[in-house]
């Protein structure tokens, strides 16, 4: 089945309307080491992951939501 993404503005929409923005990566410290980790060393969690989605073919807003990467269950 199509993965559906719950957009707070548009409701449940097919994931094909969105661009996946990757896992949410916090800025830990303003230094080169944490920049490197943020860009190159994702946690790649197997389980609930906070991540970014952009509703490209909808409200065109960036959203943050939680998805279980082992089941793809969202919200």
């Amino acid at each position: 089945m199509a993965l559906k993404v719950p957009c707070p503005n548009c409701g449940w929409r097919p994931s094909t309307e969105f661009a996946w923005g990757g896992e949410l990566r916090a800025i830990d410290a303003p230094d080169a080491e944490s920049d490197f980790a943020r860009v190159f060393l994702p946690a790649n969690v197997a389980g609930p992951q906070e991540e970014r989605w952009f509703h490209l073919l909808g409200c065109r807003r960036w959203l943050t939501m939680t998805r279980d990467t082992t089941t793809n269950e969202l919200g």
Binding site: M1, A2, L3, S15, T16, A19, W20, G22, E23, F36, A37, F40, L41, P42, A43, N44, A46, Q49, E51, R67, T69, T70, T71, N72
Partner: protein
């Protein structure tokens, strides 16, 4: 020579010992290739392969079997050319028929942009001794008369690159061929053993924790593809990897109609016919990361639509089965092979969509590196340290699908 026709293809049952010279985590084609090469080329036989499910249960038994050397960088072309050369003699070497056959790969272009990428690829490949030619529409039909040059009336084909060395090998035969050849030389292959921890003592790896108890090791190698970040994290090592789903479908079997691989660079679709007669199609990874291997309906309908645009006879074929497998994607779409900041802990990771074709050379070079303590020149550019050193090997244009 034996092969999958033998009714009893089996591995000897051996007891899991408490210590080995080398422990390899992951019983896919890469872990097994490494085990085989350690034993066959270096006489290192005190080796265990620990596989949590059954051998070949990961990407190694799920891939679309494409072997080729037409990559896009001066580092990757020689690597995959060396692997293809090893594949050519692999059945004889292993004493196991891996059903290797060279049938050519045709990559269609529908836009000037993608044709330009292919022209540059062809020039690079030729400079490195790999045959990749640019074809015009007439020549395309000589190679494959079934191609619809109008692209279903939607996307006319303007040219193609053709890679005559493009080949296939039967995926589970390669897995079993390496496994049996390694086991015959004394390697212990343990299925149903989950690695749950990696023991590190003063920056040096000394063994693993498993569902069957602790096992100490002189060297531990992670070869778990989609689960590489999880396994490396057990040793305190972080990897630049995100796990994605790659999918494929097959139709019912038909008499031979299609020879070699036909793909479209712009549509990201590729089609071949297996030795069993099934038409086999694949496309690009699912854009969001996932550890689920459930195949999606969008994939089936999209891949079917695209394949019909280039090969109209696909409209008559009936889809039979679809599946997916985990791919450990790196930022530059190239593998990560070699040591890590933890001594005696190495990785064969970032296998992405290219780990099947690379397995013979990845295993051989990693075995060299472990046996001699020196990283062979061929894989030196693929060190984990390249990301910090800003020396990536960007190959996304040729490594996106298969």
């Amino acid at each position: 020579m034996t092969g999958l026709l033998r009714h009893r293809t089996y591995l000897p049952a051996r007891e899991l010992r408490r210590a080995y010279d080398v422990v390899i985590v992951g019983g896919g084609v890469n872990g097994l290739s490494l085990a085989y090469h350690l034993a066959a080329e270096h006489g290192i036989r005190d080796v265990a392969v620990l596989e949590r499910a059954y051998i070949g249960s990961g990407g190694s038994g799920r891939n679309t079997q494409v072997l080729r050397a037409n990559y896009n960088t001066p580092e990757t072309v020689p690597l995959y050319a060396a692997s293809l050369a090893r594949y050519r003699g692999l059945s004889q070497e292993l004493g196991f028929n891996v059903q290797f056959s060279t049938e050519g790969e045709l990559d269609l272009c529908h836009t000037e942009d993608s044709l330009q990428v292919e022209r540059e690829k062809s020039a690079l490949n030729r400079a490195l001794g790999v045959q990749t030619d640019i074809l015009g529409p007439d020549e395309i039909l000589e190679v494959c008369p079934l191609v619809d040059l109008s692209g279903g009336g939607e996307l006319p084909v303007i040219g193609a690159s053709y890679h005559p060395p493009g080949s296939f090998a039967r995926h589970d035969a390669v897995v079993w061929g390496f496994a049996q050849a390694a086991a015959r030389r004394g390697v212990d292959i343990h299925q149903g053993v989950v690695v749950t921890g990696v023991q590190v003592d003063d920056h040096t790896c000394v063994g693993v924790e498993t569902s069957a108890g602790p096992v100490s090791a002189g060297h531990v190698v992670s070869a778990v593809a989609g689960w590489s970040t999880q396994l490396a994290a057990m040793a305190g090592v972080r990897l630049p990897i995100v796990t994605h789903l790659l999918q494929a479908f097959v139709t019912e079997p038909y008499r031979p109609v299609l020879r070699g691989l036909v793909s479209s660079m712009d549509l990201t679709i590729y089609v071949s016919q297996t030795t069993r007669g099934e038409l086999l199609a694949g496309a690009e990874i699912v854009p969001y990361s996932t550890f689920s291997t459930r195949s999606t309906f969008e994939f089936l309908s999209e891949a079917a639509r695209r394949s019909i645009l280039i090969l109209p006879f696909m409209a008559e074929a009936r889809a039979m089965r679809q599946w997916g497998g985990s791919c450990d994607m790196t930022p530059d779409s190239s593998p990560i092979l070699g040591p890590t900041p933890v001594d005696a802990f190495s990785v064969m990771a970032g296998m992405g969509t290219w780990g099947f074709k690379g397995a013979p050379i990845f295993g051989a070079t990693m075995a060299d590196s472990i046996a001699t303590g020196r990283v062979p020149d061929l894989i030196a550019p693929f060190a984990l340290s390249r990301f910090r050193e800003d020396r990536m090997v960007p190959d996304a244009a040729s490594a996106g699908t298969h």
